[in-house]
């Protein structure tokens, strides 16, 4: 079996250049590649285009890279949890492309599945449709949307093996599997890295073929945005 293991996050991201197009997994702060983001921050790689459903919060997730002015452009569906983001956007320091969430997910999936374009009804009749091909199928109007691919995809899984196979946990799966398949180079960080053969092949969510590098992450904070509880 091909061994995909690298030592740590710093090694995994060592060849990401300034100006790279990145996909970064996660929904809110759930399932984000915390170690990879920390390594990007440390190395201070600039002019990044980040394709990620959200932009983190002011002091965590992609918010850390925003604050450090490392991001040139965000491609996201919802960015409402971040004041620094708002400041940079209004000051014209940041480009933003807002995309309906399902369209974003499918564009990434298409990128990983070798499908250059598809039709979706989301956004028809709205400003999202501007400049896009419109086509009618069975009496309903659809927009043509194109695939998204990345130079590097940074994803986070619960368990992974040395062959790069990944298993996600809970709703931390979200955008990670599609992003894993849509990166020219995909870097996976996992909470638990095991030898090939230990994960049940029936339970693999992302097959190792999509993963270029894998490392065991550390010190996961897993910050919660909205801690909501029922009284005991």
């Amino acid at each position: 079996m091909i061994n995909k293991v690298v030592k740590d996050a710093d090694t995994a991201i060592a060849d990401i250049p300034n100006g790279a197009i990145l996909m970064v997994g996660g929904f809110g702060l759930c399932g984000i590649p915390e170690n990879g983001i920390a390594a990007l921050l440390k190395k201070n790689i600039k002019q990044l285009t980040c394709i990620s459903n959200n932009a983190g919060v002011d002091d965590f997730g992609l918010g850390l890279l925003l604050k450090n002015k490392q991001i040139k452009k965000m491609i996201s569906s919802y960015v409402g949890e971040n004041e620094e983001f708002e400041r940079q956007l209004l000051a014209g320091e940041l480009e933003v492309d807002l995309i309906p969430q399902g369209t974003l997910a499918e564009r990434i999936r298409a990128g990983g599945a070798g499908i250059p374009a598809f039709y979706t009804p989301a956004g028809y009749g709205t400003e999202v449709a501007e400049g896009k091909e419109v086509r009618e199928f069975e009496g309903k109007m659809y927009l043509m949307e194109q695939w998204l691919r990345a130079d590097f995809s940074l994803v986070k899984a619960w368990k992974g093996d040395t062959a790069g196979n990944l298993i996600y946990r809970g709703t931390a799966r979200n955008f990670n599997p599609m992003m894993a398949s849509a990166g020219k180079i995909t870097i996976a960080e996992v909470e638990e890295l095991v030898p090939a053969g230990e994960l049940d092949p029936n339970h693999i969510h992302t097959p190792g073929i999509y993963v270029t590098r894998i490392f065991q992450g550390k010190n996961y904070e897993k910050r919660i945005e909205q801690r909501t509880i029922t009284a005991n």
Binding site: P100, T103, T171, E225
Partner: protein, 220 residues
């Protein structure tokens, strides 16, 4: 008296039927889950990849890997299922969700909805709203009848950027339950307890259709 947000949620819960898969938006729609009758089986979908949303966890059971689309911590139920965002919107686009409940800033008399952007103000993004409204067969909007400036949110034509066209089927506000009828117009079905038809008329800018002299009060 006009309903509070819990009253609106309670009334909308009456629209949920046994066997429905339901997507609840953020805000008042999330509250609807608390009022779904115990004698029917309903599965709630969260577009970040969960079917079968359970109640909020006990303090000791909070799991950062388990959140809803509002980023709140949740639990799973017996029979819950997890999946990716692509699969999640696949089930939404292909019409597997029987009922979608969401908030709005404006609804027009032909069923257009605006709920994602106020030009000149910070734009947060549409999230999954455009995908949901473009594909859902049955959309109920939960909202206040008027905005903070006292202007009607039930309009002839939306003034804010549109989220989707001709998609809203029913609206529940603090004053009334209204259907959006195929030819255009808000058909008044029910009044909030103690709210007069006159008050609803005065609060509705779009075409209001009143087919009866005796519009019933909501039963909550």
């Amino acid at each position: 008296m006009a309903l509070d947000k819990f009253g609106i949620a309670k009334r909308i819960a009456q629209e949920v039927r046994d066997g429905f898969y339901v997507n609840l938006g953020i805000g008042i729609p999330t509250l609807v889950a608390n009022y779904i009758p115990a004698n029917i089986n309903v599965v709630l979908q969260s577009e970040n990849g969960l079917l079968g949303i359970g109640p909020f966890p006990k303090d000791s059971d909070v799991d950062p890997d388990l959140i809803n689309a509002g980023k709140q911590t949740v639990t799973m139920l017996d029979g819950s299922a997890l999946f990716s965002s692509a699969e999640s919107f696949g089930m939404i686009r292909s019409g597997k969700i029987q009922l979608t409940i969401l908030g709005a800033m404006e609804v027009s008399e032909n069923g257009d909805i605006a709920n994602w952007k106020i030009p000149g103000k910070m734009v947060k993004g549409m999230g999954g709203a455009m995908d949901l409204v473009a594909s859902a067969k049955n959309i109920i909007v939960a909202m206040q009848h008027k905005n903070k400036a006292g202007e009607s949110k039930l309009l002839k034509k939306c003034t804010l950027p549109i989220t989707g066209l001709h998609c809203v089927k029913k609206i529940v506000t603090e004053l009334a339950v209204l259907d959006v009828v195929p030819g255009g117009g808000f058909k008044l079905l029910e009044r909030a307890p103690g709210v007069s038809v006159e008050e609803i008329k005065n609060s509705t800018e779009g075409k209001l259709i009143i087919e009866s002299d005796n519009i019933p009060e909501m039963k909550l």
